[in-house]
Symmetry: C2
């Protein structure tokens, strides 16, 4: 004893898997390793074939997940020189809902010759959007039957979630549905691979599969109403036992120990979801603090002691984020994506030339120019719906709006207006939480944007009138997973007894935080009222021109 | 006799003067010549000084006008080899309201040492926008006094017009106002220079100085209410005699004959305005046909036998365009300007590279890509108010809007949406005329855009559901001025007795015209209803966010 202990977190993302080795005592990040998936996002052809996928499909290859383990874990050990005996626990997190059909042995059907040419045998990635008809059915039937669960999901079950994807398999490839011993979240599958134990976690079960801590899954009646063959989907394709976050799923199998170089029986925590696992990584262990996971989109995560049915929140799940709390999730479907679109499609070459000359990247140049503008100086106002609106309107068919253009409007003014629009979007979510009695006193941030774009962070602070603290780790999901790994190990093995305790010892914030400027906040408050008015006018049915145009476009 | 006769038209524009020599018998364009003004638009410093102009000022140097005559007329004669004896008449047209103070001899005060350092002694160009406070006063007093004339000007007198500029001189430089023997439109001043006769024309008097054919100028009471010193502005600074278009102002003076190489006493027509003089140049001599003068902005010109007070028309003037008719003018304040803004500020470098590779200009490339899109395919809808709205809302404080953006939106889609928005703007004007009993059966076009952008013309035809014919002359104003030159000469001197007769013989259309596609028109009809709804929502007071943002920006 007395030997320094470590935990490992592995974050399975959209394009790559990322592993992090963290010192248990103080959260020091000792080593990290990334594996870019060989097959990445599969959205054109099944790998190595001419089998073409339809529009809106997005698959992954589970072999890439295994390869991530095989490549990154040994690299962490090698880079750090840490003795595998001192790695006390492992946690993993995944994109979600990313799910697949497996056989009795846990082998994904897509890795079995008999099934591999059927696209439905593959992993359906979170952003597989081809199950919209199934999602529509799920919502319609739930609404007809007045199912209570819908209210915990912003009134709308998403095409991205578990039963939409499962029903699509049943609808389009009943033989695959039939052949599947189980349908499983990739997060739970990877834990099954690591430990040999199927231990479904309360986060994906709650947020994606309608599981509730107190009442369990929806009724068989409901599932039968969707499709008679779907009646027993829970009992036939997924167990009813759900394990709370932080639970030890099991120990590393002999085979996985051999594959990774870790010791056999190393404790492995049940799976988790990238955004959710970031909450304690950002030091949040109590109500009143909202985490923004800021990247291409924003996930807004927080916990509260009480259940408040907030309209437009994407999910409210007891035991979904932290033990003893209701976990709240909301989101904006386009943020960094919008700025990337803007830079790709709307920035003139002279700006790239100027950036080149200054030796800075184009986002940096735009930020520099935009930061010279005062609140309201651009005369522009935008609605940030380039990728629809997830919260609080839950409507994918809304679209972006830019208002106030003149012949003098400059690219940096539009860039700033787009940043402000996404900040107003976040402020709308915050206000909706507050109006529904979930107080938000402070904001926390993690993800790619806070490090790259200080102007954006300051605008978020000014718009929301709230201080924003930033997670110290630039890899918050993997860090949070490592924290859950220490909880799986428990104190007797050098870990912690709770995620709260782990957070207290391991999680840190960056020294720098973003403090709102009072005058800017007052200026933005007034502009936000105009944003809100347009938000309601175009978003709540008074003028449905956006939806009408989208329908026309897709005709 | 029997010798071929010619007429000369000179068009004084914003950046240059342009002269055209035209064969009287059939309108063949024999030679043209352009002089770029040495001092161009003066908007920073008075020429050759460090005297700085305030924001929104725009001046010209009348020496540039004289230089235009001196350079272009001899060049026309030389290029064409035409005998000056065979040039039977001259017509001129000008931007308007472009006005200046002159002394008793007709010398502009800015050319007199004593006054030249005062910016108010210079020519105020049409786009001098610094007289907004004066325009506001003119409107407020007219409205309080329930003056009837306002209704003929869309309910609003512009800061660009004659009394706004005259009042600004009185307000800010009373000594200049005092020193001025006359305040005169440049169009009338150049005629004064050519002939030695002050012959104010009915077009600028009517459209810019509130002169009415039947009732004359506004009352002295009204002018006194603006400022006691302004009571006798008409009698003191401008004569009450107004000459109808086509009148012979006089013959070329000996000095001007020497300067230009033309013969003394060559008939000169009274002055005219560029857009108005283009109407007969585009073959229009009767009601039912609307001319669009299409360039950075659009002027919509037409005539009717009756007076209909059309809300939002910029001017309705009896004898203002063609003899015996009410002339109607409406306009869109931003068209080509918006596309230029877009290309300058919003088109990414890869598009310029592609255009380069193909050896086409960027507008051409965008047009090519945009022409592949079907009606409604972009999913976008814009309000074309980048430069405010002239007709029918008459509100410079409105601004541009783009709606329907997604992460898939492409530059050519925005480009097309902007074209469509300007077409909807024209359609709104057409419909407003129609609703007020001025029928519009056909559209005619002249100016720079019809030659350069066929997609735009086709979209205008499809949106409006009307065939668009295009003037053959690419220099319609100078051409129309030459036509009025033949009328000043009259038939006994080889010219024509009326502009109608001149049009019949001289004016031509291009063979190609733009015929609306029925299906596209029906598609656009539906989208136009959405345009109209946004137009009214943001433009008629229901949501004043655009004006509010502009006020905030200008704070």
């Amino acid at each position: 004893m007395g030997q320094t202990k470590y935990a490992m977190g592995i974050d399975f993302g959209t394009e790559s898997g990322r592993a992090l080795l963290v010192r248990v005592g103080d959260g020091e990040e000792v080593a990290s390793s990334v594996y870019e998936y060989k097959d990445g996002v599969i959205d054109e052809f099944l790998p190595g074939t001419h089998i073409k996928l339809e529009a809106d499909w997005a698959l992954q290859n589970p072999a890439d997940y295994m390869e991530t383990l095989k490549r990154t874990i040994p690299e962490l050990l090698e880079k750090s020189g840490v003795n595998p005996q001192d790695v006390i626990g492992i946690g993993i997190d995944f994109t979600s809902c990313t799910m697949m059909p497996i056989d009795k042995e846990g082998t994904p059907l897509c890795l079995i010759d008999k099934y591999k040419n059927n696209p439905h045998s593959w992993v359906k990635l979170w952003k597989h959007h081809a199950a919209q008809p199934e999602a529509d059915r799920i919502n319609q039937v739930a609404s007809e039957r007045k199912e209570k669960f819908l209210a915990r999901y912003g009134g709308k079950y998403s095409s991205e979630w578990f039963y939409s994807k499962a029903l699509q398999i049943l609808d389009e490839a009943p033989q695959i549905y039939e052949a599947a011993d189980k349908l499983i979240e990739a997060a739970d599958w990877i834990v099954l691979q690591l430990t040999g134990k199927e231990r479904r976690n309360s986060c994906t079960a709650g947020y994606k599969a309608l599981w509730d801590h107190d009442t369990g899954f929806p009724s068989q009646d409901y599932f039968r109403a969707l499709d008679p063959r779907f009646e027993k989907v829970v009992d036939e394709k997924m167990p009813r036992n759900i394990y709370l976050l932080g639970t030890r799923a099991g120990g590393l199998t002999q085979e996985m120990a051999r594959l990774t170089g870790l010791r056999e029986r190393t404790p492995v925590a049940v799976g988790n979801v990238d955004a959710h696992v970031s909450v304690p990584a950002a030091t949040i262990t109590q109500p009143g603090k909202m985490l923004m996971v800021m990247g291409t989109s924003i996930c807004h995560m927080m916990v509260d002691k009480e259940l408040h049915l907030i309209p437009g929140a994407c999910g409210i799940v007891k035991e979904g984020i932290l033990p003893g709390y209701y976990g709240y999730e909301a989101g904006q479907s386009g943020v960094g994506d919008i700025f990337a679109w803007f830079v790709e499609n709307c920035v003139p070459s002279k700006y790239f030339e100027e950036a080149n000359k200054k030796g800075v990247n184009i986002h940096h140049l735009l930020e520099e120019k935009a930061s010279l503008l005062k609140v309201g100086e651009s005369g522009l106002l935008a609605l940030d719906w380039w990728n629809g609106n997830r919260s609080v309107l839950v409507d994918a068919d809304l679209s972006g709006l830019l208002l106030g253009c003149t012949l003098e409007t400059k690219p940096e003014e539009i860039y700033r207006a787009l940043i402000e629009a996404t900040a107003f979007g976040t402020y709308k979510i915050i206000n909706t939480f507050q109006e529904n009695e979930v107080k938000i006193e402070e904001l926390y941030a993690c993800g790619g944007l806070p490090e790259r774009n200080k102007l954006l962070m300051q605008i978020y602070a000014d718009v929301t009138g709230r201080t924003i603290k930033v997670a110290a780790s630039s890899q918050a999901p993997a860090f949070g997973s490592a924290m859950f790994g220490t909880v799986a190990a428990r104190r007797e093995n050098g870990g912690y007894d709770s995620i709260m305790e782990a957070a207290k010892n391991m999680a840190h914030l960056r020294r720098e935080c973003f403090v709102p400027d009072g005058e800017n906040h007052r200026g933005y408050e007034r502009i936000y009222r105009e944003y809100e008015r347009l938000h309601d006018y175009f978003g709540r049915g008074e003028n449905n021109v956006m939806k009408w145009l989208k329908k026309l476009r897709n005709k």
